[in-house]
Amino acid sequence: MREFLTTSKIDPKKRLVVERTKDFNEIYEPFDKHSARAQSERCIQCGDPFCLNKCPLHNFIPQWLKSIAQKDLEFAFKLSNEPSPFPEVMGRVCPHDRLCEGDCTLNDGHGAITIGSIETFITTEGFKAGLKPDFPGVTTDKKVAVIGSGPAGLSVATYLLRSGIGVDMYEREDRAGGLLTYGIPNFKLDKKIVQHRVDLLLEAGLNLHLNCNIGGDVAFEDLTRSHDAIFIGIGATKAKRASLKGEDANNVYSAMEYLTAIGKKNFGKKYDKAFDFKGLKVVVIGGGDTAMDCVRTATREGASQVTCLYRRDAANMPGSSKEYKNAMEEGVEFSFFSSPKQILTNSKNIATGIEVIKTRLSSKDESGRERIEQIKSSEYNIEADVIITALGFDVEVPPFYASNGIETNEWGEIVLDENHQSTTAGIYAGGDCYRGADLVVSAAYDGREAASAIVKSLL
């Protein structure tokens, strides 16, 4: 350990841009044994493991780094799979540079430990070596309904099943995984990986009900009658609107519509051909991870030009800087300090471009982030064949909340107590429907903590 002076930080290799933009396969090549070990050995094993502190799951990061350094894959696998419901997913999708790696002691000139990639390595290699998380089977007579099969739902199901509690999981889509399946493009997270996790849970006793909309196909009240507890993990799926003139034009789409359609396309399923953007000029509004997903998907889909509009600059982008870099490499154009004023449409209500005004950063707000100020008379237009808004998500509030006494706050987010229990006893929740659009890892955390509370109340 502590080899940071002799070994430099090395990120996993990325596939060549010309290669990777031709398909939707993952762009990172996984670490081999040697690099994973060498990179793990750089860890200081500090007294205040900032990485672990910053990780919402408080993953046992230093411990599994040490295990990998000691060539003990099995032990690392156990350590990694204890507090995290799907480390191989988190290793790929977590914004490590803002969380564990961002707070890594070595991230001050030495180069942070490549925690995410090693996390991916451990469970991927572990699976290959035949390791599996232990599930006892459904050993109790307790049953919990989980609404939504996204990260929060998968997480709560994992921990409930580990406790021998039966789980019925309801998903309105045709595949489990929620955002993991249809929100995150395959080049970031191979869908086989999500499916493998779902399969493990099925093997452990999960009852998965696909294409099943609670409140529609099945009444919420039916669930309460037949289950000892309910967990709501329906996410935040309603696209935020930009409130721009012309926003309703026919060729203006929300990010999730686009990503879901291409996701289905990649699964070989039916999808709306309107989302074939080959040869088109695509403009994406927004600077977050979802925006990056969109621009990079469009690139792979053969758009002739892909532009990202963002009101601030690269340094202020809310998402992972890694994603921005990847997008840059892949030929996306970025128009920073650009705020859309209106969407220009023609008479057929088809958008032809965007009127943009230049911005600059000014004084800081309470949170320390610099405010934006528009520069007078700096308007200009850009052309677009297709416009995608990636401005974040709001939660949807299904009617059964109100009828079952599940209170929400002004943004429609479920109000929970310290046990992740809603204002109605026995009904728990977590993930984006509670937090608003947030990270996968936070949803996973909510699922785990809710499971812990449910287990405590049931067993």
């Binding site: 500090c46 205040d48 910053k54 067993l459």
Partner: protein
Amino acid sequence: MTYSDLLRSSRDNCGFGLIANIDNTPSYQTLTRAITALERMMHRGAIAADGKSGDGSGLLLSMPREFMRSVAIKGGVELPDLFAVATLFTKRKNRLDTFCDICAANDLKVVLKREVPIDTEALGEQALESLPHIYHMFVVPNSIISTQRFDALLYLSRKEIEHALFDDDDFYIPSMSSRMISYKGLVMPTHIKEFFLDFQDEQFKISFSLFHQRFSTNTLPKWKLAQPFRSIAHNGEINSVEANRFNVKVKSESIKSEVFSRKELDRLLPILQQDMSDSASADNFFEFLIVNGMDFFKAARAVIPAPWQNAPHMDPDLRAFYEYHSTVFEAWDGPAAFSLTDGRYIGCVLDRNGLRPSKYVITHDNTLLITSEYGVIDLREDEIKERGRLQSGEMIGLDLKFARVLKDTQINDYLKSSNPYMKWLNTHMIYLQEHVEDQYGAKYNIDQDLLIAQQRFYNITQEVIEQVIEPMIKEGKEAVGSMGDDTPLAAFSDKQRSFSDFFKQKFAQVTNPPIDPIREKVVMSLNTGFGEIHNILDELPSHASRLKAISPILTQEKLKVLKSFGDEESPCYEAHYKHAVFETTYKTDLKATLDALTTKVIKSVKKDGIRIVMLSDDGFSSELKTIPMLLAVGRINQELLRYNIRHLVSIVAVTNEVVDSHSTASLLAYGASAVHPKLLFATVEQLVESRSYLQLSTSDAHKSVLSALNGGLLKIMSKMGISTLASYRNSSLFDVLGLSSQIVDECFCDSHALIPGLGYSDIDKRIQKVHQDSFDKRGFGSIFPLKIGGFYKFYNGSEYHDFGPDIIHAIHDLSRSAKASDYAKLRGLIAGRDRKFIRDFFEFKSDRKSIPIDRVESSKTILKRFASAAMSLGSISPEAHECIAEAMNELGGQSNSGEGGEDAARFKTNKNSKIKQVASGRFGVTPAYLRSAEEIQIKVAQGAKPGEGGQLPGHKVTPLIAQLRHTVAGVTLISPPPHHDIYSIEDLAQLIFDLKQVNPKATIAVKLVSTAGVGTIAVGVAKAYADKIIISGGDGGTGAAPLTSIKFAGNPWELGLSEAHNALKANGLRELVSLQADGGLKCGIDVVKAALMGSESFAFGTSVLTIIGCKMLRICHVNRCSVGIATQNEKLRNEHYKGTVEQLKNYFMLLAEDVREILADLGYESLEQIVGRSDLLKVLKDERSNKFDFSNILHKESGVETCQVDSNHPFDNNSFEHGVLDEARSIIKKPSGSIRITREICNLNRSFGALISGEIAQYYGDKGLKDGSINIELTGIAGQALGAFLINGVNIYLNGVANDYIGKGMHGGKIIIKTVHSGEEFSGGGNTCLYGATGGKLYLNAAVGERFAVRNSGALAIVEGTGDNACEYMTGGIVVILGSTGINFGAGMTGGVAFIYDEEHNFIENVNRELVEAVRIDTDDGDEARHYLKRLLKEYIDETQSNKAEEILSSFRTQIRNFWLVRPKNLTKLPLSQEKGD
């Protein structure tokens, strides 16, 4: 002991000695000489300003029979041949009646009461106030029977009178004997002759005297505590006294005496008087042995044995004597020089470590004089026949009947041949090892689920495995960590904690030294025996029956063997080892189960003849929890004693609770004989099998763990200065923090109960919760079942860490931004931690209204009270070190150099550290270094590892550090655990005196670590003329240290600070010293609370490092600090160190403002006004806070709250050297030519040379003056520390001899000592010469004492013989010894070379070969060394005219064959330069 008693308790050290006429001829001269000797050791005692008040002195004299007869005749009584005179102290005259009545009941008659004539003019005020009536009671036998057993009846009567008047604190019988009489009291030696008018009568003729001058740490001396006692005078301190006292009780259970009947024994027990000093207890015990007819020498060596266990050079028969006696006796261990007498024999014996000086002279007129110093009576050289000293563990005796002086070898010959001990041992003693095939081979094969549950229940977390267990497996040593402990006490924690966490290890500081368990291993032993404690007064073959193990930690195999001897079914069975296993499991009620278990054990011992009580928590299951093993052991140990059956039994703990040396040691200290750490071994087995990276066999792993635990035990014992396990067992050497008084009373009654709190039911609840959790199968932990930990490092949701990530971020942010809002974040985090530390339980309760902040003193004045804690350049990088110094100087505060020197280029700049530290390694301590200080801090102990030494590994010793520390780059530098010139309080006074000479303007500070009793130590330190005392928390510390020391040694600073503050007040000394607190201080609230508890200034360690970028990596010990602070790596320092002066300034400015705000709130204008105002604090009121009793911490003695003087001036103004300095001043002013000064010197003239050297260093720095500028010719016997800190240009020529510490810290110049009685047969110098010397030359044509050239790093020395441990820890310089050395030569020597002349060819046995090798120089390779040596010898002869050297040189070709060259093994180039040895 009540808190009030604790504040007023004392420890004593002193000057002592004996004088005897070998022919047993009484004379008045012997008396006057004894008194003179006492007077001449006044500086070893304490003296008040009036010159009359001290801590007491006295003489134990052979009975002046003629004088007493004539006195009796004056009283109208003609004494028979057989008579005794008792001396009595009493305030009430009716006590005399009790005395007479009890004597009468014992067939004795009091024929005369005489009020001893005294002159109260000789007394100081305090002594006068407490002056008792002093009587002589003349006692004679009343019948023929009583004539025969007169002495026995005298003893019996005295004991009975003592018991009868137990409650009368003023009643005391200093002596009651037919052979000896005691004259002692609170009187200065200079006035003792005036005080006791008897002494003015020349008829008062005696043949011998023991004499003693006391230095008590407190200022409330008592008449009765003056020494000598009835049979001994003791200089030193018994570190193991708690264990010895317990063990005396145990031994008392089985005593059968030939002198006293059973009934009489019952009347005279207990042997030990209560509430007396350690010395008094030793005296009680020794006297008891003697009165009961035990042989004088055997008794002496039973109490103070030589180290025999690891002494291969010792005669096997002598070892047999010791081994036999070890079955019932354990050493009264600690620094000790004992003078003892029974009237017929008189002797002096020295402890095994040789930690006290004991020097003897035999004159041609047959006087034997043994004293702490040479020169205490004036003798012409031609009167002297022998001048020698006792070496470690030696004894010298005098048989007054046959007028024979008995030297150590003669005494040993007598001892070993007095009985066929060897035969007895061969027949009866059994070594477990002999019956073991493969002691590490056992398999545990525990069911995995149960194993996991056990690990969860017994707190074996993943962290414990990684941090504690694996390092033991891999290294065979305990794990090392750094950056102190920032977690709450077990009692305040709401997380799972081990029961032994409530216990904090005790350690030696100031009044007694810790010892070095590695370099001085030769005196240490973990030998353990099982079997009954037989009658100590008999010597029978069967008493040798013992099962023996070399360590108290038993492997499964050894446990099996032990069991086989106690199992009736086994062929090995012997009834006296009969064992039974007692399960410690319980279901519901902890207290009730413990009571029941105790009853069961008692019954089985009494009724079933059980002799080995095996306590086992084996039955642990999902149904059954277990009583904490330590609780069970402690309770049963006490209860067995209460039933007087403790002596029958050995307690063995078969336990899952032991994971480290701390948990092992606690079991042993409360009564266990041995421990089998079952779960630890099972876990090791599991690890080895499941973790391929460990790559070793289970048996190798077990072996490693065992040796790590053994090493850890030695370390824990040695930090208290205890060498053998036998003396550690039953010692209770822990403070108990947060357990209720009931628990402590019932189970751990010999320990201090601090912050009494949690009771049985609270502990029970904690256990219930953990137990439930351990079997919790609910999902979590099914993949990785262990708990992650959080005790050593931070983990979310686990134990609280006060330097956790959030606080580190907050400190970084605020010190960069300098924003009040960022500071407020930190303050919020601290305020929100919710009662994690003692101070958190207190809130302010002011008696004033708030005032506007502008009325509060300025930040500037507050900042003056801030200092950075000691961190050496070496432990931290030069960049960090200088940054801190600069910032503190700019702020007006102080920075601390730490141990390890400082670049002289910084001295007169704003990078100079105002505080210069003097630590046990004395690295870089030169005259200029000391002179550059505003404050000199003597680091007696450090929070991270009180009582331990340190090591700077060679790879950290860069050229810069090497230069500052006067050594060579790459050489490992070892700091010894003790200061080798502070074994005792009078030694500290001497060091303070040295430092006050070399830098008269500096404040002298002494750094202590919090522990119960630190108040007593602080008082002593104040009496030793320190100006300032630092109380460090046991949790602090930035350096590397063993984890068990970081976590479990020393108490929070709140306890120590408040105790020290109150104790100083109780003793009226608070006004003479200032107090500083150090430990985890971060915010204004910490500072103000510390002030309220008595602190005038404040030191910051970890915080300071954090401000300049530390991220609490806790890897300081590996040189990889990624932020360039705790490293010497160039790349890390240059590229990654980002700390700035501004950051430190930002932080401390904000902190000072915070303090001002709080002061304004409290309504006070300055910190000065609130120091010691603990009444402004009150304990929070809620259930959790109410659990604990904080009253002692908030206790407020009346008296002055702050220091009122500029300097605590020593009584000795050193006018002697001031006179010399005046003469030398002209040449210091204008250094040209040279000057010759001549003087007579005596042992009262101490530290000669330091004053002049300091003065020169002030102007010329360490380079001093031109060689030979000032030449001082002395005749006589020099006092201690001759030539201390001597500088270039000053040469001292002494015609005579000198005492201890010659050339201490010497940097240049010469000390040439020529004595008439020369050669290795005669002593010419004392102990610990050249300690920490960095240069200069010392030539002495006789032998010197123990530890010659210890930590020498540059001096060149030639002497003609040395004591034990010569050249210990030496890192440079050249030492030539033209005669024999003691044992353990060159231990820890990593630099320099030594030439040893070994005519007898026995030197090589004496070398500690761990680090050095001895080579011959009569080879081609030795050519350079040979010729170098020859040149040295020539110069030596020029200076001293040494006969021995002449002899050698005259046949150099032949003699060269007898020389050894000793050098560190890895030294490639010999550092042989003519000038000095670097």
